[in-house]
């Protein structure tokens, strides 16, 4: 097996395509992740994120293009591609009739190393994910969040240089999401390269340095979070007053730089920069209008995400439905 150069990119995908019949799950995707980077792959469900990660792990083969991990390809190195790589695809799965510890012991066995070092590593990762004390329970009795944490523990067992996490906060309650994000942040701070797939803009924004946004298998955006923020549109707000007609008229006469429209479901939608919206609201109050509601619909990055991924967005609620076929 070739020993890859230490300067190799952690992940390099070149013109990767995967089809399922007529459906193009990943369409000429190219991206690169540098060592030490925390990289996000963002997209709605069915965008092709998980399909790409499956190709990275060798679970499926691309129809064309190349995926390199630390300079190695599956064709050149076989399972050696995964040396220094760990993670999970979608929700992590384990053998329900075994305990959490037995699952980790088995997976550690498949990773190699002597019994003593395996045992020490298991103790360590159980502590990191806060499963110490529950490791003797059968996985069948684990909650969803515990399985997610066991998935992270199983990944850390491999002492990875690249950690690949596919929707790690998916299905977790708010506390679990907070804890999972804190853990990923700590791992990233430790120097790991992290490749994080998500459909939550705030998750990627909080953790990642760079991001690729995918839609219907294609790259819709590629760049830094800073670049993404610069592209973000003005935020939208739900607005309700004691006289909405007067509020609309006031906006048209005195604040032409913001858009205020009637919402079909009641109230108004105001779109503009924070400063201009603040000035507009102040004028509404001066005009003796009673302000009954003024709440943001979606963050600017969320709005940009929906725009880039070409999903229909209800400007009032921020809810949307993807035009692309589910994958």
């Amino acid at each position: 097996m070739q020993t890859p150069p230490h300067t190799a990119l952690a992940v390099e995908a070149v013109d990767v395509t995967k089809r399922y019949g007529d459906l193009v799950a990943v369409d000429h995707l190219s991206l690169s992740v540098a060592p030490g980077e925390v990289y996000g792959i963002l997209g709605p469900n069915g965008a092709g994120k998980t399909t790409f990660l499956r190709m990275l792990f060798g679970l499926i083969r691309p129809d064309s293009g190349t995926v390199r991990v630390f300079g190695r390809t599956w064709a050149d190195s076989g399972v050696g591609v995964l040396d220094g790589v760990a993670g999970f695809i979608e929700s992590p799965r384990f053998y329900p009739y075994l305990t959490g510890r037995q699952n980790l012991e088995g997976l550690a066995l498949l990773d190699g190393g002597d019994r003593g070092s395996r045992s020490r590593r298991i103790e360590g990762v159980l502590d990191v994910v806060d499963l110490a004390g529950r490791e003797g329970d059968k996985v069948a009795g684990y909650s969803y969040g515990m399985r997610q944490r066991l998935g992270v523990a199983a990944s850390l067992l491999r002492d990875p240089r690249l950690l690949v996490l596919d929707e790690p906060a998916n299905g977790l309650d708010p506390g679990g999401i907070r804890d999972m994000r804190a853990l990923v942040t700590r791992l990233a701070d430790s120097g790991l390269t992290v490749l994080l797939s998500s459909h939550h803009m705030d998750e990627v924004e909080e953790i990642c340095d760079n991001v690729t946004i995918m839609a219907r298998g294609q790259v819709a955006f590629h760049g830094s979070i800073g670049d993404l923020r610069a592209m973000a549109p003005d935020p939208g707000h739900l607005l309700s007053t004691s006289d909405d007609a007067l509020a609309v008229a006031l906006a048209r006469e005195q604040h032409p730089d913001i858009a205020v429209e009637t919402d079909p479901e009641g109230g108004l939608v105001a779109i503009g920069s924070r400063e201009r919206l603040s000035a507009y609201v102040a004028d509404l109050v001066r005009a003796d209008l009673e302000l009954r509601q003024f709440t943001p619909t979606q963050t600017p990055l969320e709005a940009l995400f929906f725009m880039l991924t070409d999903t229909r967005t209800d400007t009032r609620t921020g809810t949307r439905s993807a035009k692309g076929a589910g994958r």
Binding site: M1, T3, P4, R54, F57, G58, L59, I60, R61, F70, G78, V79, G80, L82, D83, G84, V85, A86, G87, F88, I89, E90, S91, P92, R93, F94, Y95, P96, Y97, L98, Q102, G106, L107, L109, L110, D111, G112, G113, G124, D127, V128, V129, D130, R149, A154, L156, R158, D159, P160, R161, D179, M180, A182, L183, R186, L187, D189, S190, G191, L192
Partner: protein
């Protein structure tokens, strides 16, 4: 989660390659999983206890089952009883016993969604394939050995160990009969391995444990039915059910072993074809579930 400091992970690539586990680690893991399952323990216990129950029940019948091979002497002769049980077991019990594990061993990974769990470690599909195959074959042979030992012992103890009347009417001394009965049971190993490989193929192909377990048993019964039909002499040697009868020559006078060699060829052929097909399917398939 705790605020335990997360260590900076820097596994040297060369070291990882040097420590990559081989077939032994995968064998150990598959064996451990199998031993942890209640079904496995139940099957092994059943293989020990069920023959005892069958022998006691048959022995307590007022009239022997004369319409079956060695049935006429089964209530009076322990060796005949062991061969009667063998003839019955070979019809569907032995294929079922091996299929319960072999038909499930690949499909259960699909059922639990754990292919992605094990294939994202440092173990290849090939290694896992051969480890699962070896464990399934080993289980089949262990089950057969337990079943044989239990049947022979129960028959010996419950019915007795008088000289056996062979298929040609010859009298076989007890010590020779014991060796021949043991040999007859041992000859089941060949078709059992064939059925194990058939179940492995169904398990890989269908990704469904029910299909993996039931299909080999049904196919075995169909082959027995076809084998019993007249006018298919050219087809019969190729049926995987035929080797189950190869032991008959051991109990004839003069003794003949040609069917045992045919059994070896037939069973090996089925095993190679099934394993090759299963291997190729597993190597080429996309792991998309879970």
């Amino acid at each position: 989660m705790t605020s335990t400091t997360v260590q900076r992970h820097r596994a040297p690539v060369v070291d990882a390659a040097a420590h990559r586990p081989g077939l032994g680690a995968a064998l150990s893991w598959e064996s451990r999983k199998l031993r942890s399952q209640l079904r496995t323990k139940a099957l092994l216990v059943g293989a020990v206890l069920a023959p005892l129950a069958v022998v006691v029940i048959v022995h307590s019948q007022p009239r022997p089952p004369k319409d079956t091979l060695f049935g006429r002497f089964a209530t009076d002769n322990g060796f005949a009883m062991a061969l009667l049980v063998l003839g019955f077991a070979s019809q569907w019990v032995l294929p079922l016993l091996t299929a319960v594990v072999a038909g499930d061993i690949f499909a259960s990974e699909d059922q639990h969604g754990t292919w992605k769990t094990v294939l994202t470690r440092s173990t290849s599909r090939s290694t896992l394939f051969w480890a699962k195959t070896a464990v399934a074959v080993a289980f089949a042979l262990v089950t057969l050995a337990l079943l044989a030992a239990s049947t022979i012992a129960a028959s010996w103890l419950v019915v007795g160990h008088q000289p056996l009347t062979g298929l040609s009417g010859q009298v076989v001394p007890a010590h020779t009969a014991l060796a021949l009965v043991a040999g007859a049971w041992a000859s089941m190993a060949l078709p059992i391995i064939g059925f194990t490989c058939l179940a492995l193929l169904f398990s890989v192909w269908s990704r469904n444990a029910a299909v993996g377990i039931a299909a080999p048993v049904v196919l075995g019964l169909v082959m027995q039915l076809v084998g019993a039909l007249g006018g298919i002499e050219t087809l019969r040697p190729f049926l995987l059910s035929t080797p189950f009868e190869a032991w008959h020559g051991l109990l004839a006078a003069p003794r003949f072993t040609g069917p045992l060699l045919d059994s070896l060829v037939t069973s090996a052929g089925w095993s190679v074809v099934c394993l090759t097909a299963a291997y190729l399917i597993l190597r080429r398939r996309d792991i998309t579930g879970g």
